[in-house]
């Protein structure tokens, strides 16, 4: 089982680039890229809150539990 990150799809839906999101949420592009590619081991609530505020979505719109 894995937690899938759907940030790419959400960015596409909002017509926003990762660089723009990085500027809005004040998180480095490198860290956002780690999150987007599913390489992150943990996500801070503050990061999730900032992304959701910038994209106008819910945490569930970005993260999805995928059973094996």
């Amino acid at each position: 089982m894995t937690i899938a990150v759907k940030l790419d799809a959400m960015l596409h839906e909002r017509r926003m680039t990762l660089t723009e999101l990085a500027e809005r949420v004040d998180i480095t592009l490198a860290n956002l890229s780690i999150l987007k590619t599913g390489k992150a081991r943990a996500v801070r609530f503050s990061t999730l809150e900032a992304i959701c505020a910038a994209l106008g979505c819910q945490p569930g719109d970005i993260l999805e539990f995928v059973p094996d």
């Binding site: 998180i27 860290n31 956002l32 780690i34 999150l35 390489k39 992150a40 081991r41 943990a42 996500v43 801070r44 990061t47």
Partner: protein
């Protein structure tokens, strides 16, 4: 603050290198002593102040055993010192909180334990073969500070391993 730290690191590095050389010299001397006890026993024993082995066979035998145990300490010391050098190098490289150092500390704790056991063995032999006329005065035996160092190093190794794992987790946190 950077300069005193780097200076301390350089001193520690040089000090450890010197200790490694001294350990080899110590090993060579003990080996020579041990070989001498077999090859040129009368001469070696006389040089050490031990009377004819015919009269003090147990004492001579005990001294051989102590020398052999002293030789065992050489690879133990070397293993400890080389690990310490590697740890100092990681501090110098700016990244000491790595899993390898936790493993090194764990190994150092086991080596310290081995050294304490070795010391007890040497002291025991010394006590067994000593006679009122010819007592062996050895700088070995039970050392509370030595055993405390063993426990502390085991604890420190565990703390280091946990700290390293937590840092790895934090590194993957976005």
């Amino acid at each position: 603050m950077t300069r005193p730290i780097s200076n301390a690191l350089s001193i520690a590095h040089i000090g450890l290198r010197v200790l490694i050389v001294l350990n080899w010299i110590y090993g060579a001397i003990v080996l020579a002593l041990l070989v001498g006890m077999f090859v040129a026993e009368p001469w070696t024993m006389t040089a050490l102040g031990v009377p004819a082995p015919a009269q003090f066979a147990a004492l001579a035998m005990g001294m051989r055993a102590i020398a052999a145990l002293g030789l065992v300490a050489v690879p133990l010391n070397l293993a400890l010192l080389t690990r310490l050098v590697a740890m100092v190098q990681t501090v110098g490289a700016g990244d000491p909180f790595v899993a390898a150092n936790a493993h090194r500390l764990q190994a150092i704790a086991w080596i310290l334990l081995g050294q304490q056991v070795l010391g007890l063995g040497i002291a025991l032999i010394g006590k067994l073969v000593s006679t009122p006329g010819h007592a062996l005065h050895l700088d070995a035996g039970f050392s509370p500070s030595g055993w405390l160092a063993v426990v502390l190093t085991f604890v420190l190794a565990r703390v280091f391993a946990e700290g390293t794992r937590m840092r790895e987790d934090l590194e993957g946190t976005v």
